[in-house]
């Protein structure tokens, strides 16, 4: 077959492409799921009764090569308990202007408190808004969870929590939270 003139061969490529599968994603109208292990926004996880897993140890901050994480620990008290054990993370900030999504923080976390979600929409027109605070990062309260501060399940230790022996909040914990809510009102 004789070769097409150069001008036409260009059109031929265009014509062929019209019948190929389209790779363009119609973001933001259509959001395509990421790969399951994509490094997206972080999440601070909870134990099944709602207590936070974070112990404020700052190992994530230490591991971070971009210095994107700031943690300040504090002591749990009988009146105000946020995590099992003695210590919890009082201040927890991740600066997404700095975060490079490498996931070293996840590896450093000794309690699996910090994991990454697949959420990738980390852009804004305000730098301040890209510093995520603890309340922005905490995982949602699922069924059976009570928002801290509240006491641990009676008769358990932080080791029991760690070993997965606590599976949901007890009625006492719900009652306690309710009492605190009413006292707050």
């Amino acid at each position: 077959m004789a070769e097409l003139p150069p001008a036409l061969s260009g059109f031929a490529t265009t014509f062929k492409s019209m019948f190929r599968k389209v790779t363009t994603e119609q973001y933001p109208e259509e959001k395509v799921p990421t790969q399951p292990r994509f490094h997206g926004r972080h999440q601070l996880n909870r134990y099944p009764d709602g207590l936070e897993k974070c112990i404020g140890c700052e190992l994530c901050a230490w591991a971070c090569p971009a210095d994107a994480i700031l943690v300040e620990g504090a002591e749990n008290t009988e009146e105000e308990r946020f995590s099992p054990g003695e210590r919890y993370g009082q201040v927890y900030q991740i600066n997404y202007l700095r975060c490079i999504g490498c996931g070293l923080c996840i590896e450093a976390c000794p309690t699996r408190a910090l994991t990454m979600t697949n959420e990738y929409e980390l852009a804004d027109d305000d730098r301040g808004k890209l510093i995520y605070e603890k309340q922005d990062l905490l995982g949602p309260l699922l069924t059976g969870m009570v928002a801290p501060p509240h006491s641990m399940v009676e008769g358990t230790t932080d080791t029991d929590y760690y070993q997965g022996k606590v599976t949901k909040a007890t009625p006492e914990q719900f009652e306690e939270a309710e009492e605190q809510r009413q006292a707050g009102v």
Partner: protein
């Protein structure tokens, strides 16, 4: 922790030759293996070993192989002998195996909570488990657990699971501090540190145990979970709390001080510091003056300075300057220069406490001019030390530690002329001569005149001891109010050859004396009335000698009186507390009367509320400076928080002077240090020795007693504000009287009594102990015992004492 093998000049015959890891080494006799190995650069792992504590071989981590010995030996407790062949973990499988075995045992019950442990990241156990332990553990059974944390005191918390039973804390408390509050309880696996049930670990030195704990077993409430070691920026600083001049490590995170630690200085604080120096720093953050104010309204700094300068110019010559005892040497220098050159007066006094003309003369004669009388090192070699109106543990705790070390070495005997026996004096094994306030002068003079005929054996003994070369007399700031005492002590010192050292309570007092923040003194020990001295200073300051005042100025008390009578029209105040003054009510009256008050202050106080112009100044961590400690040793420190923009007192004074038409230059620290080095000292300029006679003790009526009072180390001082954990370890606030007085009042231990003067009364529980006859002791500034504020009284004042709530 670094260790130094004592570099004594050792004669050749005292050296022995031995080998460590096949390396031949010569060391002085009685050198511990672990120290000799350090000299070679070999670090043998250890927990219990601490160079300042006696060997105990409790942790067994430092096992080494010694040729000829059947089993590995602890290198921290075995001294080298001639020809000994030692093999450490570097060359011996036996030593390495032994150390790994010990580490494995230590870790069996040690919890894996490093992420939440305050020691994590700077933990010898963590580090040495990595460097000298087995790679994995063979124990999979459950660890022993204890309840935690246990409160040993409000400040010190114990986590028993983490303890490796090295006994550093108990040995420190017993050997160094002399406070046997903590001890091992139980046996075997249950062995644990503990306290007696009703006796918390309220030692003034308890914080040191947290620092030397090689694991996270002892932690402090104040620092608990506040940060991790890798967050902290460390700076070398000097403690601002007392005249000891401790070398400190200040750790801060994001411009906030997180903790302070003792930093080794063999010449001063050795490895230790006191709890006040360690924990009392909340004032750096709380209630700061952040903006300049004029008449209560926030103002720009240049405007406020301009206004203050106008007002001060208006009252030139009629201004009093009260600076307090907390300024750095450099800032004190600036105040001194500003007062003389810009304000044209000698009305300046740093003494915001009971003081006297005699004291000012004594300071000019025996202290000012960079005189180094005694040093910490000399305490250790002194055959005897006489303490006069000075309670070392309460008023200068590091001096107390040195004294205790000297006494423990059995070289030094301590005598005290005191109003009462105290815990500190008892721990020093002090021979106490109890006197009533006012009788000290007579005692010193009598004893001086006829030592041998004295009926009092103790005084005779004191005389023979104090005459031995190298003896030291320590006198505290309280001697100022006892007429003739300082004069008598100067005589005693001259007659016996004993060194006379003045130990003030505050960090800036000695420096203030050196730069002449006194009505009778110019910088460098020059007196204000000596023409030549004034000329020398005028030359250094670059002013005409005629522009400097040539007369003695007014002391603090006179300034306050003059302000009340209207002769002084304006006051310049630097970092003061009203309640420090002998008669706070009078100071308040003076503040009401004067036309203008300028206050340069770190923190807000009742005093800044009364000032017309308030200027914020930098605290110690925000500027460079120098504190001169009681020895006369300069203790310079750099700016810890390098990002901080606060201005020091000196920089503000430079602006003030500029606005008043005097060019002082920028008065940076380095400028001032240059001026100070040009100062020099000439003995000719020394003031004359004070010659004062003893006062008369008033005759006491029924229910009347003489007051004795001093500040306890941990009390209501302004710099200790905002630290409840520290405040919880303070000694109990009690009045102390002797058994005879108790009988007269028909009062028992623990019952309350009331002390009354014309201005108010204080009710306290009573403790019956060894106090001089008809003397009652009260803590000066421990609520509810605010002696100066409520009673307007000081040592030797007559007070009414009655049983129960009120007379």
């Amino acid at each position: 922790m670094t260790q130094v093998v004592e570099n004594k000049e050792t004669a050749a015959q005292d050296l022995i030759t031995c080998t460590i890891d096949d390396i031949e080494i010569q060391v002085p006799k009685d050198t511990l293996i672990i120290r000799a190995a350090e000299k070679l650069g070999t670090y043998i792992p250890r927990f219990c070993d601490h160079p300042a504590l006696a060997p105990v071989a409790a942790c067994r981590m430092c096992l080494v192989e010694i040729e000829g010995m059947p089993k590995p030996q602890p290198s921290c407790a075995v001294t080298l002998s001639e020809g000994m062949k030692v093999r450490t973990q570097l060359t011996s499988e036996i030593a390495k195996g032994a150390q790994e075995g010990v580490m494995e045992f230590l870790l069996i019950n040690h919890p894996l909570d490093c992420p939440v442990c305050d020691k994590g990241g700077e933990c010898p156990l963590q580090n040495q488990a990595m460097s000298d332990g087995r790679p994995d553990s063979r124990f999979e059974i459950e660890k022993r657990t204890f309840d935690k944390p246990v409160e040993l005191s409000t400040e010190i918390l114990l986590d028993r699971e983490r303890c490796v039973e090295c006994a550093r804390c108990t040995r420190f408390s017993e050997e160094i501090a002399g406070d046997k509050f903590i001890e091992f309880l139980e046996r075997g696996t249950k062995q644990q540190i503990g306290i007696a049930e009703d006796e918390p670990f309220n030692s003034y030195f308890s914080g040191n145990t947290v620092q030397i704990c090689p694991v996270g077993a002892l932690t402090s409430s104040a620092y608990r979970f506040r940060s991790r070691p890798f967050d902290l920026v460390s700076a070398q600083t000097t403690c601002e709390h007392c005249a000891a001049g401790c070398n400190l490590r200040t750790d801060y995170r994001r411009e906030t001080v997180m903790r302070r630690l003792a930093w080794e200085d063999k010449n001063v604080n050795e490895d230790w510091n006191c709890d006040k120096g360690r924990f009392a720093f909340a004032y750096l953050k709380d209630k700061r003056v952040t903006r300049a104010r004029v008449m209560g309204q926030a103002a720009l700094l240049p405007d406020a300075v301009e206004y203050a300068a106008q007002e001060l110019t208006k009252h030139k010559g009629k201004v009093g300057v009260l600076t307090g005892g907390r300024l750095t040497l450099e800032d004190a220098w600036s105040y001194s220069k500003f007062t003389r050159v810009a304000l044209k007066t000698n009305n300046v006094d740093f003494r915001n406490r009971p003081h006297s003309q005699e004291e000012a003369e004594f300071l000019a004669h025996s202290v000012a001019g960079g005189i180094i009388t005694a040093t910490y090192k000399e305490i250790e070699s002194a055959p005897s030390v006489l303490l006069v109106n000075f309670e070392p543990e309460e008023e200068s705790p590091i001096v107390f530690l040195r004294l205790r070390k000297a006494v423990a070495n059995k070289k030094t005997k301590v005598f005290a002329i005191t109003h009462l026996e105290t815990k500190g004096l008892t721990k020093l094994g002090s021979k106490n001569i109890l006197v009533r306030p006012g009788d000290e002068t007579k005692l010193v003079r009598d004893a001086l005149a006829q030592w041998s005929n004295n009926t009092n054996n103790l005084i005779e003994k004191l005389h023979s001891q104090i005459s031995k070369p190298g003896s030291i007399i320590f006198v505290g700031e309280r001697a100022a109010v006892i007429p003739g005492l300082l004069s008598a002590l100067v005589e005693l010192s001259t007659a016996t050859g004993a060194k006379l050292s003045w130990i003030p309570r505050r960090a800036g007092e000695r420096g203030a004396v050196e730069v002449g923040l006194l009505p009778n003194l110019l910088p460098g020990g020059r007196v204000t009335t000596d023409e030549e001295s004034v000329a020398e200073i005028a030359a250094i300051w670059g002013v005409d000698v005629k522009d400097l005042p040539h007369t003695r100025g007014l002391c603090a008390e006179e300034i306050i009186d003059a302000a009340i009578s209207g002769e002084i029209k304006a006051l310049v105040l630097a970092g003061l507390e009203i309640k420090d003054y002998p008669q706070p009510a009078k100071l308040l009256a003076a503040l009401e009367k004067v036309e203008f008050i300028l206050s340069l202050s770190i923190n807000e106080s009742d005093l800044t509320q009364k000032a017309d112009v308030v200027l914020p100044v930098a605290a110690v961590t925000e500027k460079a400076g120098t504190f001169v400690n009681w020895e006369g040793r300069p203790r310079p420190f750099g700016k810890a928080m390098t990002q901080n923009k606060s201005l020091s007192d000196s920089r503000i004074i430079s602006m003030l002077a500029d606005a008043m038409g005097h060019d002082f230059g920028p008065l940076t620290t380095s400028d001032i240090r240059q001026d100070l080095s040009a100062l020099g000292v000439t003995a000719r300029n020394q003031g004359k020795a004070p010659k004062y006679q003893a006062g008369l003790i008033p005759s006491l009526g029924d229910n009347q007693m003489l007051l004795s009072t001093f500040n306890q180390l941990i009390d209501d001082g302004a710099l200790q504000a905002g630290e409840p954990h520290l405040a919880g370890t303070r000694r109990e606030t009690v009045a102390k009287i002797n058994a005879a007085a108790a009988e007269k009042l028909q009062i028992k231990n623990g019952e309350t009594l009331t002390v009354t003067t014309s201005t108010g009364s204080i009710t306290l529980p009573v403790e019956i102990c060894q106090v001089a006859d008809s003397v009652i002791w009260l803590p000066t500034n421990s609520a509810p015992s605010s002696v100066r504020q409520i009673l307007n009284a000081h040592d030797g004042s007559v007070v009414m004492v009655s049983k129960g709530l009120n007379a």
